[in-house]
Symmetry: C2
Subunit: 179 residues, 2 copies
């Protein structure tokens, strides 16, 4: 039995709702699982439904959402896992805080870039429609800003790269740089 590969860091996926963060993280996990890596997907929606159920979408609540997410990611990394964290995390300052909490040397920022129009067309969860109708407030891209990363380790253009291409891009850039 081959010893599991060690990828002891957090891959922090940031981008608009509908950009493809969770899809890419799950596909990436499938590939890493094949290699025997210990991989954990820390999903923003899952945290919002439990640990962060008390938080809304104001700037301060978003900040606390990301702080807690980073602290939880740190627990998994401290245990030897590779964490794939999927959070809109629209503010640069909050992502910087996450980096500080986890440690810059084990924090890889991945910007899933996708034009708002495309995300809005996909609208998998029907959230953009609700935001446009005014049923949801402080929605990123509609009435709350998204600040693109200034130091992303990888940028994926999910409107141009297929899922397979994107996963291979991530594997080569972050995991198997020698290949």
């Amino acid at each position: 039995m081959k010893a599991p590969s060690q990828h002891n860091f957090v891959v922090w996926f940031t981008g608009l709702s509908g950009a493809g963060k969770t899809t890419l993280a799950q596909e990436l996990k499938k590939q890493l699982d094949l290699d025997g890596s210990n991989v954990y997907v820390l999903d923003g929606d899952v945290l919002r439904g439990g640990l962060n159920l008390d938080l809304g979408f104001s700037a301060s609540d978003r900040s606390e959402n990301i702080r807690r997410a980073a602290e939880v990611a740190k627990l998994w990394v401290d245990e030897g896992f590779c964490v794939l964290a999927t959070f809109i995390s629209p503010f640069q300052a909050d992502r910087q805080k996450a980096r500080d909490i986890i440690g810059a040397h084990r924090f890889k920022e991945v910007y899933i870039r996708c034009p708002l129009e495309i995300c809005e067309t996909r609208d998998v969860k029907g959230l953009y429609e609700k935001a446009r109708a005014g049923l949801i407030r402080n929605f990123t891209g509609i009435d709350s800003p998204y600040e693109p990363p200034i130091q992303a380790d990888v940028i994926i253009s999910s409107d141009k790269q297929s899922i397979n291409e994107s996963v291979n891009h991530l594997l080569k850039s972050l995991f198997y740089t020698e290949r």
Copy 2:
């Protein structure tokens, strides 16, 4: 290679500071590790130093401390781990909430019972001395109550049972009931 045993539940250690929760959890983990189980120790002090750094020791902060701990424990259990959670968790209502969050069928409550005088004599972290001196407020057992469990799955008397005896007691009661 033997398939790892599956112990997919949370063992929730409750008791006074100094009762021996963390020591027992760590020793229990050593034994379970030998068996190839996936075991995670979720330590109250560790959470207090990160995720729950914003919380104090008022009743409402203690409640939120335990709510978050239970939500984090749930993430690990959902991933197939056995979680050994060590929290003073002095209030019955908060432990009940933890049970509700995690699910009663995968929540084992372990009361580490030890007289206050003994815990205070041990005073490993020097906290009792500070509490008696009035330097720490709302300290469990001194100026904040401890409500003993009413439905503990296991009770360990850490002033009477050695660490080895206690670990064996836990192994037999919760893990290897057939042995």
